[in-house]
Amino acid sequence: MSSGSPILRRRFLAGGAALAAVVVLSACGAKTDAAGTSSDKAAKIDISGDTVKVGLLNSLSGTMAISEVTVRNSLLLAIDEINASGGVLGKKIKPISEDGASDWPTFAEKAAKLIKEDEVAATFGCWTSASRKAVKPVFEKNRSLLFYPVQYEGLEQSPYIFYTGATTNQQIVPALDYLKSQGKKSLYLVGSDYVFPRTANKEITAYAKANGMTILGEDYAPLGSTEFSTIANKVKASKADAVFNTLNGDSNVAFFKEYKSAGLSAKTMPVVSVSIAEEEVKSIGSQYLAGQLTAWNYYQTTPGAANEKFVAAYKAKYGEDKPTSDPMEAAYTSVYLWAAMVEKAKSFDPEKVKAASDGITFDAPEGKVTVDGATQHISKTARIGKIGTDGLITEVWNSGKPVEPDPFLKGYSWAADLS
C-alpha cells in the first residue's frame, strides 16, 4: 500500500546485546538469532488427525454483538453442512470460536491466536471495517487467510483476505443508479462516524456530481449514538428527494423512530439503507420501516432452491422466528467457497488455495457467485428491496446478472480522484 522506502530488515542485534548485557543475560538475543527464525514462512496449519481447524472471529460481547452473533451462527451452519457431507479433503472442519469483543485490538490479538496457537487453515469473520483493518496486517504477516463476509467501502485488496460481501460497485453504485432511475435529484446523507460511511459518502458525492444530483447535507453520529432528533430536523428541513443511510447498529433504531416522529415516511422522503437487513428490521419494527428501501445482494425472500434450503436449515437450527440476512448469507457462502478452493487446490496451504481461487463458483442462496482471483472479491447480483409490513424485504429491482467486483472503482470515470 504505502510506497515508501522499504524497511530495513535489520535486526536488533546491537541494541539487544547492549540491553541484554545490562540484565546479565547476554546470551538471550543472540540465541534467538542463531535459531534463524524468519517471518517469511507461511503460518503453520495443523492438519494432523482427521480434522482441520478454522477460526471464527466475531464479536460475541460489546456493542457489535447485536450483529455479529448471527454471522457466527450461519458460519457454524455451513460448517455443519459441509461436515455432514464428508468434510473438506476428507477432513472434518473443526471451528474454533474467538470473541472480538467489539474491540479492534482484541480482534488483532485473537486473529494471531487463531493463526499461531490453533494453526487454523482459514479464519472467517469480522464485521466493522475497523476490525478488518486491525487484523489485516496479522493475516498478511502470517500469510493466513481471512474470509470477510460484510459489505464494505471498497478501496482495499489484501492478498490474504477474501471479500465475500459486496464492494461499493455491487451495492452503493446500483442503489444510486436505482435512485436516479426513480427521478431522485437530491440526497441527504446520514451515517455513523467511522470509515465505511465516510468513505461511502465520498463516493456517493462523486457519483452525484457526475450524475446531476445534489447532496443537501451530510451528517455523522458517533457509533452507538441514539439521539437523532436534531438530525431528523435537519433532514426534514432539507426537503431532499431521498436519504442515503449508512448508519450502523443501534443508531438505526433511534434514527428511524425519530424519522417517523418527525412526520417523514417512505412516501414523503424514502430512505435507502445499506446496513439494515432482516435482523435489523426485526429489531426496529416494520411499524417504523414499512416502505423504506434497502440495497443488498440477498434477502430472505430471494427466490431459488439454494435459498429455500438455507432458510429452512437456519430456522431448523436456530428457531422459526430467526430471519436470515445478507451478511449471514455471505458468511455461509464464504465457508463453501473456501471448501471449494481447498478441494480444487487439493491442499490447505493458503498460497495454493489462493492460486486455485479464480473462477470458483457456488450456487449460493443469493444466486450463482464467482470468485475473481485477481481482486479476491466475488461477483454478486445487486438487489434493491422494499421493507414490507410483515418485516420481510422484497426485491423491487435487481441487476439482472452478477456484477463483477471493482473495489477501486476503476471502471467509473467519476471515481478517478477517490483513491
Binding site: V69, P222, S229, K234, E258, I284
Partner: protein, 298 residues
C-alpha cells in the same frame, strides 16, 4: 424561525430524556453518593420488561401503561438486591462501588444476551405515540413528536412524584435525615440500612421507568444502558449532589446546548464541546450548580 423553535423543542426533549435517566441517580448517586454503573442495566431491564409484557398484552398502548409500574418494580427489586448483596458493604468506598457495579453491569449485559439474544429486540409503540402534532402548518411546518411529549410529561410527573415523596412522606423525611447526618439519624431511631435499601429501590425503579420511555425513541438491546450512563452521571455532577432542582435545570440546559451545537456543528463536535463546557463549568463551581451546605460532603 421554525428551525429555532424546532430546535428549542428538540433541546427540551433531549433534556427530558436526560432527566428521566438521571432522576434515579439523583437518589442513589446524589443522595447516597454511590456510583452505580449498573444503573444503565436497570434502564435496560425496564426496556426488556416492556418487551416481555408486549408478548402477553397485545395492545401496545395498554402494555406500555402496564409496563411503567411493572418496570419500576422489576428494576427497583434488582436495585434493592444489589444494595443488599454488595453496595451496603461499600458505602465508604465510592470508587470501589464504581468498579464493583461495573462488574455487575458486565454480567447483566451478558445475562440479557443469553436470555433475549444478542440482537436488539423490538417493541411496538402505540400508534398515538408515533405521530406528531403540527404546531405551524404551511410550507415550513413545525411539528412536535408525540413520543417526545409523552416522555416530557413522564419526566415531569416523575420529578414531581419524587420531590413530593422526599418532602412530604415519612419515608422522604427519613431519607433526607440519613443523607444529612447518618449518625444522628441512626441514634434517633431510624434504621439507616432500611432507608438505604428503600432509597436504592426507588432510584433503581426510576431507571426502569426511564427504560420503558426509551423504548419509544431508541434501541432495546444488551448495551443500551452503557450508551446513556455517563451522560446521566454528568447531569447529577453538574447539577450538584443532593439537589433535585439542580439536576432538573442542568438536564434541560445540557439538552438545549446539545441541540444547538448539534445543529450548528456535528454530533461528535457537539458532544465534545458539551463535555468541555461541563469541565469549564466545574472550574467555576466545583460542587455543581446547587450544593447542600454541609461540612463533609464528597
Amino acid at each position: 424561525m421554525t428551525v429555532i423553535l424546532g430546535q428549542t423543542f428538540t433541546g427540551i426533549s433531549i433534556g427530558a430524556v436526560l432527566l428521566l435517566i438521571a432522576l434515579g441517580l439523583s437518589l442513589t448517586f446524589g443522595q447516597m453518593n454511590v456510583i452505580n454503573m449498573a444503573h444503565g442495566e436497570f434502564i435496560m431491564a425496564g426496556a426488556y420488561t416492556t418487551y416481555v409484557l408486549q408478548k402477553s398484552i397485545s395492545s401496545a398502548g395498554i402494555s406500555l401503561l402496564v409496563a411503567l409500574p411493572v418496570a419500576f418494580l422489576v428494576s427497583g427489586a434488582l436495585g434493592a438486591l444489589l444494595e443488599w448483596l454488595l453496595i451496603r458493604r461499600l458505602y465508604l468506598r465510592p470508587l470501589d462501588t464504581l468498579l464493583v457495579t461495573w462488574g455487575v453491569s458486565l454480567m447483566l449485559q451478558q445475562l440479557a444476551r443469553d436470555i433475549f439474544g444478542a440482537p436488539n429486540v423490538q417493541t411496538r409503540a402505540p400508534d398515538l405515540l408515533t405521530g406528531n402534532i403540527t404546531l405551524i402548518g404551511g410550507d415550513d411546518p413545525l411539528s412536535v413528536a408525540n413520543s417526545r411529549l409523552f416522555i416530557l410529561g413522564l419526566a415531569i410527573a416523575a420529578v414531581v412524584a419524587l420531590s413530593l415523596t422526599l418532602r412530604l412522606t415519612p419515608l422522604g423525611r427519613r431519607i433526607r435525615a440519613v443523607v444529612q447526618n447518618r449518625d444522628l439519624a441512626e441514634v434517633s431511631g431510624i434504621s439507616t440500612s432500611r432507608v438505604d435499601r428503600t432509597a436504592f429501590f426507588i432510584g433503581s425503579g426510576l431507571a426502569g421507568v426511564a427504560g420503558v420511555a426509551l423504548t419509544l425513541v431508541g434501541p432495546i438491546g444488551p448495551t443500551m444502558g452503557t450508551n446513556v450512563i455517563i451522560d446521566a452521571f454528568l447531569v447529577i455532577v453538574v447539577g450538584g449532589i443532593g439537589q433535585l432542582k439542580g439536576s432538573v435545570i442542568v438536564a434541560f440546559v445540557l439538552g438545549a446546548l446539545q441541540s444547538v451545537l448539534e445543529y450548528s456543528t456535528t454530533v461528535s463536535v457537539a458532544k465534545v464541546l458539551v463535555l468541555v463546557a461541563i469541565v469549564a463549568f466545574l472550574q467555576w463551581r466545583p460542587q455543581g450548580l446547587y450544593t447542600l451546605r454541609t461540612r463533609s460532603l464528597v
